[in-house]
């Protein structure tokens, strides 16, 4: 069992994640939704740090918080007037959404809780992942190394840049 401090931290992070994600989908101001998303992402990053994946947490902050959310904010500022609220949801659509969400929650929750013992399992020890390992794993081409996906992703990103330019270009 871990220390009480980390347990408390875990609960704080988990609660923050749930809270902010609920807020992100329920707030009527779109800019706020983006901000709540940012907080959720930060919380996720903290969770990664807690699991000793420092690199992943850094990536999460850099790419998501630094990149994607900024993009969101730009897009929002470009496409909506300040002070604009999205329309109020009808109770029917909200009800339907709730039903769907709860159903999903049920399925996922069932999948999780049917393996209940995991919830109480101790965190196994793991030597910290250093930069050399990550680098060789990403760049290696032998078993359980990821050169090919890495290249594929880089091509994808390139295509994405070009695609973004082409699509958004003013005709």
């Amino acid at each position: 069992m871990e220390s009480v401090g980390s347990l408390i931290l875990y609960f704080i992070v988990a609660l923050a994640m749930i809270l902010f994600s609920v807020l992100a989908v329920t707030t009527r101001k779109i800019l706020r939704a983006a901000t709540y998303l940012l907080f959720t992402l930060f919380a996720a990053a903290v969770a990664y740090f807690m699991m000793d994946y420092e690199f992943l947490g850094a990536v999460q902050i850099a790419v998501y918080a630094g990149g994607i959310v900024v993009l969101f904010v730009f897009a929002i500022l470009l496409t909506s007037k300040p002070g604009d609220n999205t329309e109020r949801l009808t109770s029917r659509s909200r009800g339907l959404g709730l039903v769907a969400a709860l159903a999903t929650l049920g399925v996922v929750g069932y999948a999780l809780f049917s393996r209940c013992e995991l919830l109480t399992a101790a965190k196994p020890n793991m030597e910290a992942l250093d930069m050399v390992t990550i680098g060789t794993t990403l760049m290696g081409s032998s078993h359980a190394q990821y050169l090919l996906p890495f290249e594929a992703v880089s091509v994808l990103l390139l295509a994405c840049i070009i695609g973004g330019v082409v699509v958004a270009r003013r005709r």
Partner: protein, 668 residues
């Protein structure tokens, strides 16, 4: 022999066709016409050279000891089925193909020249599609030359169809005229139908013989010379033996060889307009008159005669087939001559006269037997083919000149033209004398030989054909008197007097008339005979036959003189005396109506319409209902694809949840 010249003979018209067909619209009318004439002129010279080489050079490839041989100049494999059975394209030189080269190139060149004048109006403006006309003429010349030099029956068939196609194109040259369009379709369909028989005949023959080559069918190789053959009765006997050994002896009353030969002859019947497949030729006169002269008088229509002549040794093996040819020819000759006596359209008269004359050639082939004067009929037929091509082309070109001057085909508009068009008058008269068989014009000699051949075969044939010869003289001079005499020409208000045409039109008339005058003195028997052995016709000349046929011809002319020289009531009286006969002749014995009845009422109405109903309602209905069901189904599910992403997510979620439910159910 050098292959360059034979290849050029075929290649120049083909090149002209491609050049004028593709680039014709880029050049002026005049350039296109001159180019066409030059090309054809070159071919004319080359063909004359080749024929002269063949007949007179004394080269042993072409003849040894006075016997003329068949020589293959080249023979290229084109399509190989089995090592022993291949379709080849080649160039065969023998007496009849050399003669046909001369005939085709002469007439074709004359027509090329003549069209320069004919295909323009009185103000010198060329007709629309002038270049196309020359392109088609070149195509026709190419195909006809390819046909006559064919080394095997399949090459002949290929060019046979090409000739039919170019004939179709030229009959339908004035494609805005509905009558021309329907005439071209009629010609094509009727000859196509006949060619079906031809093809089946070829297939039967080749199935048993395993070979298409004429040399194999009719000749045996000359031992000392490569690619040279002599006509040898042993070869067809061998073929007949193959049939006797392998084929079922009798099929529907005839042996299989008879059937093959008769079916091949059916192709010839279609092309040569024998009864009952003659109906297309009178309508084919819708084409421009030079085309009628070239294709429908001189060259293409004799292809059937040429075909039978080419396979003649084989036909000798089956007497039945020859008798059929004789009977068909004799009936056609009489029928066409009777119809020609009543027609009003000048070109129709000439068309029926052509049918009748070709029937003469067919009869002549049919009665030819080696035991009578060394198959005189064969030689007579070829001779008549030659002379007929010349004088009938002449008559058609004269008719074209008259039509061009008057602007009408109907000779009720003509009458009394002799003063206005002297050149046309004299050349037309020469043509008429030649076809009537008056000494010393060419028709006398060839027709006389045909009658001699008939007499040698059977006296019924002789009497019958003599009667037809008399009728020929009568209707030709009826035409002549009605056009040039009868009464004074009436010049319509606002028209200038008809006159002779430009030199491009007159020159061919004069040349052809000259040929018609002297062609009879060609010692034809020396040049062409069925087995290559020279035949001295004059030694067998029978003055009694000649005298009788001359007397008959003069009688026919005299009758025409009495009835039609001056305007009088005799023709009217004659018509009233035998109204039924006259009406039947005038309506061509209702053959066209019979065909219309068979095709429309029986085939279309009785067979095609139920089939069409079945097709439209049952087959199409099934397919349509498939389409309708698909259509309805897609209309029904179309709202599902609303374009609303969130609806899609819903469907997706429901699907996932359902899957999860199923999994859960399975686990539990």
């Amino acid at each position: 022999m050098d292959v360059t010249i034979p290849i050029l003979i075929l290649a120049i018209p083909l090149t002209m066709f491609l050049l004028l067909g593709i680039a014709g619209c880029k050049m002026s009318h005049r350039t296109a016409g001159i180019l066409g004439c030059l090309g054809m002129g070159t071919v004319l010279v080359l063909a004359y050279y080749t024929a002269a080489q063949y007949f007179f050079s004394g080269n042993e490839l072409f003849g040894a000891d006075g016997v003329r041989l068949q020589h293959i100049v080249f023979n290229q494999t084109w399509l190989e089925f089995t090592p022993t059975m291949a379709i080849k394209l080649g160039f065969l030189l023998d007496p009849i193909s050399a003669m046909m080269l001369v005939v085709i190139t002469t007439i074709s060149f004359m027509v090329h020249l003549y069209s320069m004048g004919y295909m323009r109006d009185h103000h010198g403006v060329y007709e629309h599609g002038f270049q196309r006309f020359y392109a088609f003429l070149s195509l026709f010349s190419f195909s006809m030359l390819g046909l006559v030099v064919a080394t095997n029956i399949f090459q002949m068939y290929i060019f046979w169809e090409l000739v039919g196609a170019s004939s179709y194109l030229l009959i339908g040259f004035y494609y805005v005229k509905p009558s021309a369009v329907s005439a071209s379709k009629k010609a094509f369909i009727v000859t196509r139908f006949a060619d079906l028989g031809f093809l089946i005949g070829i297939l039967i023959l080749s199935y048993y013989v395993g070979n298409f080559d004429f040399m194999n069918l009719t000749s045996s190789p000359v031992a000392s010379l490569a690619e040279t053959f002599s006509v040898d009765i042993a070869a067809p006997q061998h073929i007949a033996q193959i049939f006797a050994d392998n084929a079922a002896p009798v099929f529907m009353g005839g042996s299989v060889l008879t059937w093959a030969l008769v079916l091949i002859f059916m192709g010839g019947m279609g092309k040569s307009a024998m009864m009952p497949l003659h109906i297309w030729l009178p309508d084919a006169m819708e084409g421009p008159t030079p085309v009628s002269a070239l294709i429908h008088a001189a060259t293409m229509v004799v292809a059937g005669v040429y075909l039978v002549a080419r396979l003649f040794p084989l036909y000798l093996m089956e007497d039945t087939a020859l008798v059929i040819i004789t009977v068909v020819g004799a009936i056609t000759a009489l029928y066409a001559a009777m119809v020609a006596c009543t027609q009003l359209d000048i070109k129709r008269v000439l068309a029926f006269s052509t049918i009748s004359q070709i029937a003469f050639m067919m009869v002549s082939l049919g009665v030819a037997r080696p035991e009578h004067h060394e198959a005189l009929g064969y030689m007579a037929s070829m001779f008549h083919l030659f002379t007929h091509a010349m004088f009938k082309a002449l008559l058609f070109l004269c008719a074209g000149a008259i039509i061009h001057a008057i602007g009408s085909n109907d000779y009720t508009d003509m009458h009394g033209l002799r003063k206005y068009m002297p050149i046309t008058h004299w050349t037309f008269l020469i043509g008429c004398l030649a076809i009537a068989g008056i000494i010393p014009f060419s028709g006398f000699f060839s027709k006389d030989e045909i009658l001699s051949a008939c007499l040698g075969y059977d006296w019924v044939a002789y009497v019958w054909m003599s009667l037809v010869a008399g009728l020929t003289a009568f209707y030709m001079f009826r035409l002549y008197f009605l056009i040039f005499w009868w009464k004074e020409h009436k010049i319509h208000e606002g028209h200038h007097a008809p006159h002779d045409q430009a030199w491009t039109m007159s020159l061919p008339l004069i040349i052809l008339a000259a040929i018609s005058c002297v062609a009879g003195f060609i010692p034809f028997g020396e040049l062409v005979s069925w087995n290559g052995h020279p035949y001295d016709f004059m030694a067998h000349f029978d003055w009694s036959v000649a005298g009788i046929s001359l007397a008959i011809a003069v009688a026919g002319i005299a009758l025409a003189w009495v009835m039609y020289r001056r305007e009088n009531a005799l023709p009217e009286k004659f018509r009233n005396a035998v109204p039924a006969l006259w009406t039947w002749c005038y309506h061509r014995f209702y053959w066209d109506e019979l065909y219309m009845f068979i095709t429309h009422k029986i085939i279309f109405g009785g067979i095609c319409r139920p089939l069409a109903w079945f097709d439209r309602n049952i087959i199409d209905g099934t397919m349509d209902s498939f389409a309708a069901v698909t259509n309805k189904a897609s209309e029904a599910i179309r709202p599902l694809q609303s374009g609303q992403i969130q609806m899609y997510v819903w469907y997706y979620l429901i699907g996932v949840l359902a899957l999860a439910g199923i999994c859960a159910a399975c686990i539990l």
